[in-house]
């Protein structure tokens, strides 16, 4: 049964040093507020899983939270590289970062296997690719009926999955709509989970067959309005493309990055404070 709590408490209770953590949201509903809170609480040695480690993981990696990254596409979408990710991989700054690299289809199958509590996922994948040469977690098996060779990956089973959703009701049932990515699978695959939401309502009013995660599969629900900024929440606010572009110069050098993190994340108490601090910086710029 979902506990309705604050984001601070949820991260305190459910995310531990050394955990394998998945923050999912495929360009839409990226749980930025939760990522910031993990930085604020200075979690260390995390294995971070995410299909598309964009700004949120650049921030976590640059802030020294992670020792390993499992991913299938790493970039600032439409803008360029993730400089903090590259600095960690190439120069061990601020700490060394191991990587395990996949293709999207492989991670999707591995998440679905995790949600199904199967030990592995199967796909017709990685054909002709060099990825399996560098990733011992991609094996090949034979179909017991046709003999066809198929890729197999261990199921992804994070210690904690964190997502952002549009709505929860007061019992903790969660509704997501629009681009739903791999969020349902990531939640169902995890041992523990946290959902931040745009709003908590009396009744979900979910349309038939929409993506509803029932209260009793949810660990903690925290109300964080705007918690997916600068990504978007369909029906609430659009993607802030300007922030994605602004991230490139902020993150390019260690000192500008550190100054930004110190001022806007470590120097604030919560996501509301972060948004306020960002607005002030913009006004006084």
């Amino acid at each position: 049964m979902a506990q309705i709590t604050t984001l601070k408490q949820a991260i305190q209770q459910l995310v531990r040093d050394g955990d394998t953590v998945a923050l999912e949201g495929f360009t839409h509903l990226i749980p930025f507020a939760a990522g910031h809170e993990i930085i604020r609480q200075q979690r260390r040695n995390l294995t971070l899983i995410r299909m598309t480690p964009d700004l949120i993981y650049d921030q976590l990696i640059g802030a020294g939270c992670a020792s390993k990254l499992v991913f299938s596409w790493g970039g600032n979408p439409g803008v360029g590289s993730l400089h903090r990710l590259r600095d960690a991989v190439e120069n061990d700054w601020p700490t060394p970062l191991a990587i395990e690299e996949h293709a999207h289809a492989g991670m999707a199958a591995a998440y679905a296997a995790g949600a199904s509590h199967l030990p592995f996922g199967v796909l017709r994948g990685y054909l002709g690719s060099d990825l399996p040469k560098h990733n011992p977690n991609v094996k090949f098996i034979e179909c017991p009926f046709t003999g066809e060779r198929l890729a197999a990956l261990p199921a992804i089973r994070p210690d904690v999955t964190v997502i952002h959703a549009q709505k929860a009701d007061r019992r903790g049932n969660v509704l997501i709509w629009g681009v739903v990515g791999v969020q349902k699978e990531a939640v169902m695959a995890a041992k523990r989970n946290i959902v931040t939401v745009e709003e908590i309502v009396d009744h979900l009013d979910a349309p038939p067959n929409s993506v509803v995660l029932p209260s009793w599969v949810i660990g903690a629900v925290a109300h964080v309005k705007g918690g997916a900024f600068p990504s978007y929440a369909q029906g609430y606010y659009a993607r802030n493309n300007a922030f994605y572009k602004a991230w490139d110069p902020i993150s390019r050098e260690r000192d500008t990055f550190k100054a930004w993190i110190d001022r806007h994340i470590m120097g604030t108490n919560d996501f509301e404070g972060f948004r306020q601090s960002l607005k002030e910086a913009f006004t006084h710029a």
């Binding site: 360009t27 190439e90 796909l123 994948g125 002709g128 681009v179 659009a238």
Partner: protein, 259 residues
């Protein structure tokens, strides 16, 4: 006939768009492929079905998305499904006519690299990685690739094979039992390359207006073969250019929204 001015990127986008037949089901990568796919949709191929790997099926975005899962895609789609479903039921399901990919590097058999330049563990340039590309390249019935033409991109040997094209050439792709038939055209800012029917080696079959075949050869990292009947690409029509420029202008305005 009055000469219309256009850029090399515009020529590349227009030439790419023309490769898309009306009604085709496209699995579209972000960037140039997305621009070309939407140009096709807004000109000669209105019934083209655009699928983005975010799970948006039949997206009709009014502006070009900056990311692969923008609100413009889901709000205009016929259906929005989960990531596991778009990859398993649609792409692996063999329902995609045309995969449309960009690349950082390509070799003579149209294998592509979007992972690293240099050594995998100590790369000189770290690229974003695979994303959906390996399975788009494997499972789409046909594959189009578009990238800018230069010797850093068109290389003799890839530093990393992210997505398989025609592998070692000849029937080597078939022997590996790829479901789709692989790349059928590579569209660049200089011309169009297509695989030789037998050897599968990329051959220059068309140069864009004003581009000397020698220039394409010089910008290719292997001894590029030229087709006997080398064509010249039809320049962008006024309509193609107008629609493309209008799309880019709308996109720029939409993406300028502030913090």
């Amino acid at each position: 006939m009055p000469e219309t001015k256009y850029t090399a990127d515009e020529m590349m986008t227009v030439a790419s768009a023309r490769m898309i037949h009306n009604g085709a089901v496209l699995f579209v990568g972000i960037g140039l492929p997305s621009a070309a796919a939407n140009l096709a949709r807004l000109t000669h191929a209105p019934d083209t079905v655009l699928i983005y790997e975010s799970g948006t099926i039949g997206a009709k975005p009014p502006v070009l998305p900056l990311s692969i899962g923008d609100g413009e895609l889901s709000e205009t789609a016929d259906a929005v499904v989960s990531i596991p479903e778009i990859f398993a039921y649609y792409l692996q399901g063999g329902r995609v006519d045309l995969g449309f990919l960009g690349a950082a590097q390509i070799d003579r058999f149209a294998n592509i690299n979007t992972t690293v330049i240099g050594d995998y563990h100590r790369p000189s340039t770290r690229l974003p990685g695979a994303g959906g590309a390996p399975e788009i390249a494997a499972s789409s019935k046909e594959v189009l690739i578009t990238l800018r033409h230069n010797k850093r991109a068109f290389v003799k040997k890839l530093d990393f094979v992210t997505s398989g094209g025609h592998m070692e050439g000849g029937n080597s792709r078939g022997q590996l039992r790829f479901p789709g038939k692989g790349p059928t055209a590579v569209i660049t800012d200089l011309g169009i390359l297509t695989p030789d029917p037998d050897t599968k080696e990329l051959t220059l079959t068309s140069v864009h207006p004003g581009i000397a075949p020698e220039k394409v050869v010089e910008n290719t990292g292997w001894p590029l073969k030229l087709a006997a009947n080398l064509a010249t690409t039809e320049p962008p029509s006024d309509n193609e250019l107008a629609v493309l420029r209008d799309l880019h202008a709308r996109t720029e305005r939409a993406h300028a929204n502030g913090a």
